[in-house]
């Protein structure tokens, strides 16, 4: 199970090549890439930062959960940090298993869940300034002052 935060280019083929095993019949890969615009505003580049130790722990937990929930054989999840140019891969999630249905389900669950709870932030640089991407609201049970979070 490859779970990593990296500062250099993500090599899809290396990661999926390492992931595949003889009993696999399907690999579904999600490749998240830096778009050239956000709501029509032209992007120059992005800068990703993370609470690294926590983000890695969270990603490892998600990978374990995906195997347990969907019964897939193995998962690779690599997120890039630092400055990324348009067209570069910010995240690669690959899921391998004997049958394809679960690889689609697990891959989609992983990216959807990562986007809600793994502590990584994106700053977008445009020709006319920079903004922190607004982010997805935390699930109620993770929010610090939520009435649902009285654990």
């Amino acid at each position: 199970m490859q779970v990593e935060l990296v500062y250099n280019v993500i090599h899809t083929q290396t990661i999926t090549g390492r992931l595949k095993a003889g009993e696999d019949g399907a690999v579904t890969v999600f490749d998240g890439i830096v778009r050239n615009n956000t709501k029509g505003r032209q992007t120059l580049y992005l800068d990703y930062t993370a609470h690294k130790s926590m983000a890695l722990q969270q990603m490892q937990t998600l990978a374990d959960d995906a195997v347990a929930r969907f019964g897939v054989r193995d998962v690779a999840m690599v997120h890039r940090l630092g400055r990324l140019e348009v067209g570069e891969t910010s995240i690669l999630i690959a899921v391998a298993s004997a049958h394809r249905g679960v690889t689609f389900d697990a891959c989609r669950w992983l990216i959807d869940t990562l986007k809600k709870q793994v502590p990584i932030w994106k700053q977008e640089f445009f020709v006319d300034g920079a903004v922190w991407a607004p982010g997805e609201p935390f699930p109620a049970e993770l929010q610090a002052d939520s009435p649902f979070s009285q654990r």
Partner: protein
């Protein structure tokens, strides 16, 4: 008590990445949020959207802090694929 406080995302525009709080007067995660909210009330509604991690674990408002805890203030996260919030993607 003494705490190590980490700031992320948009909070970095207002705070440094890390701050050592030598004499935190409160007791819980909610107290700490209240403390910083009083320092930077101009951040407005952002305060209501934060999550807090104590020693790398998400923690609710009523969690008690201990000496030398690492407490991270986390705005809504935006890692992963570059999708805007109000889209289907």
């Amino acid at each position: 008590m003494r705490l190590r406080v980490l700031f992320f995302g948009v909070l970095r525009d207002r705070f440094s990445a890390e701050e050592r709080l030598e004499q935190f007067p409160g007791r819980t995660v909610a107290d700490l949020l209240g403390y910083y909210r009083a320092v930077a009330p101009e951040l407005g509604t952002l305060w209501g959207t934060l999550a807090v991690a104590v020693n790398q674990q998400y923690a609710a408002g009523n969690v008690e802090l201990k000496q030398d805890d690492e407490v991270a203030l986390l705005p809504p996260v935006s890692g992963g694929a570059p999708c805007v919030r109000n889209h289907a993607g």
